[in-house]
């Protein structure tokens, strides 16, 4: 019995041979990402068809609540001038949550691939930097690294670079730990049931030991934390930090 924890599977490779980028690999991450996007977009379309001004349906109430929540989240944390940021943060949150939770139906989360989080973190980092340059000018932005004294410059650069890295790794680590622990639990339970039922004599024990009967139950409980809680929490933290960082960048 082996426990295999690996990266995303590659379905097929399109040889492009572009330097640095290499061959285009259509991996599980990408395919599930597209599924996630389709799910979110489908949900949006389903929620917002047939909108009415009064006597609204429950479906419409949910749509309105989501929009209001997104508005309140961004404007409440960053202020009125970041109204343009709402769809971005909403997209980030929705993609993150659905990606994290899609592991519940047996697909591999796109967020269990560091490339995904790194991509998001880089986008957020560029936004933060752009906001900083916008609010204090390019000179002011560069000068900001030498505060409070010039000696601090390397540390300031480090802390600046640490922002996207910590953003990406925090999210990735949490999701990956869920994947790893789930795999370990399934592996351990399968092993335990095979050994336990293998004690039965004859063919019966031989057949039953192939069925990981103990896998029913316990993983559902651990998944409440590792998939549901951790998934939603990490998406929330990622978005919260994004909004906070950008709002802070504007204040300087």
């Amino acid at each position: 019995m082996e426990v295999d924890i690996s990266g995303a599977r590659v379905f097929f490779t399109i040889p492009t041979n572009i330097p640095i980028l290499g061959d285009l690999q259509i991996s599980e991450t990408l395919v599930v990402s597209w599924i996630v996007m389709a799910v979110i977009t489908g949900l949006c379309i389903w929620l917002t068809h047939d909108l009415k001004v009064e006597k609204i349906s429950k479906r419409q109430a949910v749509a309105e609540m989501l929009v209001e929540m997104a508005n309140k989240f961004v404007i409440g944390n960053a202020g009125e001038k970041f109204r343009k940021l709402i769809p971005f943060v909403a997209a980030l949150f929705a993609t993150s949550v659905v990606s994290n939770l899609i592991s519940l139906i047996g697909l591999r989360s796109p967020t269990a691939d560091l490339s995904t989080e790194a991509a998001w973190a880089i986008v957020v980092f560029i936004m933060i930097t752009a906001q900083k340059i916008k609010s204090s000018g390019i000179g002011g932005y560069l000068k900001g690294f030498t505060t409070p004294i010039a000696v601090m410059t390397p540390f300031n650069v480090l802390s600046e670079l640490a922002t996207p890295i910590s953003l990406a790794c925090r999210h990735f680590g949490n999701i990956l730990s869920g994947v790893v622990i789930n795999a370990l639990i399934y592996g351990a339970l399968a092993l335990a049931s095979s050994k336990l039922l293998g004690l039965l004599p004859g063919v019966l024990g031989g057949v039953l030991s192939q069925i990981p009967i103990l896998s029913v139950g316990l993983p559902a409980i651990t998944s409440v934390y590792f998939d549901w809680f951790s998934g939603v929490m990490q998406a929330f933290i990622f978005c919260m930090l994004t909004v906070m960082y950008i709002a802070n960048a504007a204040e300087e």
């Binding site: 690999q25 991996s27 996007m37 949006c44 917002t48 009415k52 909403a90 997209a91 691939d113 490339s115």
Partner: protein, 167 residues
């Protein structure tokens, strides 16, 4: 089937996920925020319109109320005016009537007095004539003779004068 590293950066996936994020942002904007915000805007416009309508109705009602109050005030003033005028007129009229009555009474009185005086004169004259006749008869009988017309008249006048003094 190949697998990628468990912890690693795959450049193509990295680029694709950036694109995916922005595509997702557009899709959410297009399919969730745009219709919902449009609907919310419509609802806000409707509510605003209703509030404006209510304000208009209130203003109208206020205008009607002030107009009504104005009218009431005017009517009251008019009524008061009419009342005072009527009172004045009545007073004037009654005064006039009293005066008239008084003058009429005075006229009646004076007329009656003049009538009485005339009647008296008339009666006196009649009595004068009668007494004159009687006196002539009596005198004729007493004297039993024809008195001349001159004496006759003289006697009568004398007598009447005496009677007039006596009456």
């Amino acid at each position: 089937m190949d697998v990628q590293e468990l912890v690693g950066l795959v450049p193509w996936t990295f680029v694709a996920q950036i694109c995916n994020l922005f595509i997702q942002m557009y899709l959410i904007k297009r399919f969730l925020f745009k219709p919902v915000n449009e609907m919310l805007e419509k609802r806000r416009a409707l509510a605003d319109a209703q509030i404006r309508e209510a304000e208009q109705a209130k203003a109208d009602a206020d205008a009607i109320k002030t107009e009504y109050e104005q009218n009431m005030k005017e009517a009251k003033e008019k009524a008061n005016e009419i009342l005072t005028t009527a009172q004045k007129t009545a007073a004037l009229q009654s005064e006039e009537m009293l005066k008239e009555a008084a003058s009429q009474a005075a006229a009646l009185k004076s007329k009656a007095e003049s009538d009485i005086a005339q009647e008296k004169r008339k009666a006196v004259n009649e009595i004068k004539d009668e007494i004159g006749g009687m006196a002539v008869e009596i005198a004729g009988k007493v004297i039993e003779r024809e008195i001349s017309e001159e004496d006759h008249t003289k006697l009568i006048d004398e007598f009447i004068a005496n009677v007039g003094e006596a009456s």
